[in-house]
């Protein structure tokens, strides 16, 4: 494979706001998100459906689909600049070449009428790859690396592959042009447990081998614990907690993260020990206009939660946005975080 002497790029998302046009006006799916992906790390983003995590992932490629629109903010990727200012051919070339995107496994991210090999060649031609044979060789190596017979897979149509195989093909197509930033949207959803474990192991290994900067979107806290270095928890379009994965999961600070972890049934012990979060996640239309977005479901709700939106505060390697989480006064005013 191509030697990877280049260091992994960092990604800095700043004040990102994405709005969706609805009959009730433009409503934010992501509001004012700040998130840094450290070079060479895997960052997990967890959240319920509608928390804005997929919208966030698409923003990394400036690919928010109408009726959505990126209203404010920037996404700086080292070596590429602010993705949100890119357009037309520049943007197209960056996609695939610099930022790889892997779709959900259950969804069909491949053209059903063409063999994988032909779609690989389409990819190569789109990015002006001159050595198409080399591209096919790289693809076969990647597929072999993921435990598949490359030649046979390239000769197959999508419907001839299982969910796990399709998912690995998706990963191959995201990596074959040597993209250094990889975004995986729900990479293990709808796969069986063994395939899930295999895909997660592959993500981790390929990430390390190629020194990538990876973002994994999921609603599966268990899956993310195995693969990620750091974890961001999203709720109502905001990152409510972000820190090292073992710390966030081991000692969650935000009431939402705590509730989320309590809701996971344990392998040992009674299933009734798992407690569902009361209430339901907000939709675009039910997001409160002021105050904390989580307060309706929060057991530590205070008067200030009704009026003021909590500002994310960085302390002890962790960013938390909650009024109830006790923090030193000196840090309360600090808006920025690393």
């Amino acid at each position: 494979m191509t030697p990877t002497t280049v260091t992994a790029p960092g990604v800095r998302i700043r004040d990102l706001t994405v709005v969706y046009k609805t009959p009730a006006g433009e409503l934010p799916a992501v509001s004012g998100v700040n998130l840094s992906l450290e070079p060479g790390t895997i960052t997990g983003v967890v959240g319920e459906s509608g928390s804005g995590k997929s919208t966030l992932a698409l923003s990394l490629l400036n690919a928010v689909q109408p009726p959505g629109r990126i209203a404010a903010g920037s996404v700086e990727i080292d070596g590429l600049g602010d993705v949100l200012t890119l357009g037309g051919e520049d943007l197209r070339r960056a996609r695939g070449r610099q930022v790889g995107y892997v779709f959900q496994a259950a969804q069909n991210s491949l053209n059903p009428l063409k063999t994988i090999g032909k779609q690989l060649l389409d990819l190569g031609r789109s990015h002006d790859v001159e050595d198409l044979r080399g591209l096919v060789r790289d693809a076969k190596e990647l597929l072999a690396r993921m435990g598949m017979d490359g030649a046979r897979v390239l000769d197959s149509h999508q419907h001839e592959l299982s969910g796990g195989m399709r998912q690995r093909v998706g990963i191959m197509l995201a990596l074959v042009l040597n993209a250094k930033v990889v975004v995986l949207d729900e990479p293990t959803t709808a796969l069986d447990m063994i395939t899930q474990a295999t895909i997660l192991r592959i993500i981790r290994e390929v990430h390390d081998e190629r020194s990538l900067t990876t973002l994994v979107i999921t609603h599966d806290v268990g899956a993310i614990a195995e693969v990620a270095d750091s974890l961001a928890v999203m709720y109502g379009g905001r990152v409510v907690e972000h820190g090292e994965v073992t710390e966030v999961l081991g000692a969650p600070r935000h009431p939402y993260t705590q509730g989320l972890i309590r809701a996971i049934p344990r392998l040992s012990g009674d299933i009734s020990e798992a407690r569902a979060l009361p209430g339901r996640p907000p939709t675009l239309g039910t997001l409160p206009a002021a105050g904390c977005v989580f307060r309706e479901r929060c057991e530590r709700r205070m008067a200030v939660c009704e009026t003021d939106e909590p500002i994310p505060v960085f302390r002890d390697g962790r960013t938390v946005a909650c009024h109830a989480v006790d923090h030193p006064l000196a840090l309360v005013k600090r808006k920025e975080f690393a």
């Binding site: 070339r93 991210s109 009428l113 897979v153 197959s156």
Partner: protein, 344 residues
């Protein structure tokens, strides 16, 4: 996890499939032939027996009358139903459909053959033209669906789809043959030209074909554009289109992905409508006085020409059965999911 099969067509399976289709098709044709035999035999007034009896009344001997009627209908008018049926089927196997009543003495096959020529030209040209036009416009209507152009195109489709073909035909005749007479109003060709590959004859042929072809095109265009638009919109929502864009594929390639997937279901309809063309287009042929199969069928019904009627029905049936087989095989050739016989 490794249950994938090679993406190559299995020609053995294709041959078996084709064989099955042919057998089923023959059964269909046989069923229709039987039904039309029984209907002709059982209509009140029994034209076969009527013919036989009127010949006897005219002074023919029963044997002569029987033979004369047999020549007309292709089967014996007397004897048990079974004997007549076997006789009819026997002559069918020899492609003998009997003789026409309304054009005495002329074989039904000859009449159908000459009418088919006049049907194939306008209907086939109209079908293909409307398909090309409708599909292209359908893609634009889908891509520009939130703009004015898309609205206009979709509206044109709904409008033309809703207007009956005879209204379009009469309107075009009124405009281009009466108000502003630049085109002939009817007939297949001017009689002053000698049939053959000479410019005068061909020119007259084309001139006469314009209005029927345009009418047919406009009448079927609406269906194509609406179907293509909804297919494209559906495929646009498929993940692989967004995935292709996120992989940075060139616009042209993404467009081909889109178009090929959207047009696929339409090929079946196209093959079927080409099969239907043997039914002719009764309205268009009537309006433009085009001696095609549709007109032949109408005339055979009004003149109670039962042999011709039965023959025309049979040709229409065969056309549709064959088109069905072709549509199915076509799908096998262009859709890999069907080709390998597995579920997607």
């Amino acid at each position: 996890m490794t249950n994938a099969v090679r993406g190559r067509p299995r020609w053995g399976a294709v041959a078996r499939k084709t064989g099955g289709h042919l057998v089923r098709g023959l059964v269909m044709v046989w069923v229709v032939a039987t039904i039309s035999f029984v209907i002709i035999r059982e209509i009140p007034g029994n034209p076969v027996l009527g013919q036989y009896e009127s010949l006897i009344q005219k002074g023919m001997s029963p044997e002569q009358a029987e033979r004369a009627t047999a020549v007309l209908y292709g089967f014996l008018p007397t004897g048990s139903l079974w004997q007549q049926y076997l006789g009819y089927m026997g002559s069918l196997l020899h492609l003998d459909l009997g003789r026409s009543l309304s054009t005495p003495g002329v074989e039904v096959t000859t009449l159908i053959g000459s009418a088919a020529r006049w049907t194939v030209l306008p209907v086939l040209a109209g079908t293909l033209l409307s398909f090309l036009l409708g599909v292209t416009m359908g893609v634009y209507a889908a891509i520009k669906r939130s703009g004015k152009l898309g609205d206009m195109l979709a509206l044109s489709g709904s409008l033309l789809h809703g207007v009956p073909v005879y209204v379009i035909g009469l309107l075009l005749t009124a405009i281009f043959a009466t108000l502003w007479p630049i085109l002939p109003s009817g007939g297949p060709v001017d009689v002053e030209f000698v049939p053959g590959l000479n410019p005068g004859y061909l020119g007259s042929l084309l001139q006469h074909a314009v209005l029927p072809v345009v009418t047919y095109t406009l009448a079927s265009y609406g269906g194509w554009i609406l179907a293509m638009k909804s297919n494209v919109v559906a495929v646009l929502g498929d993940d692989f289109i967004l995935a292709a864009e996120l992989r940075g594929l060139k616009r042209g390639i993404v467009f081909r992905y889109l178009a090929r997937n959207a047009i696929l279901p339409l090929f079946t309809i196209l093959a079927l409508s080409i099969g239907m063309l043997f039914g002719g287009s009764i309205f268009i042929e009537e309006i433009f006085n085009y001696p095609g199969l549709g007109l032949l069928l109408v005339n055979s019904i009004t003149s109670r020409d039962y042999a011709l009627m039965g023959g025309t029905f049979l040709v229409i049936t065969i056309g549709i059965v064959v088109a069905n087989i072709v549509a199915d095989l076509l799908y096998t050739a262009i859709d890999p999911r069907v080709r390998s016989g597995g579920a997607a």
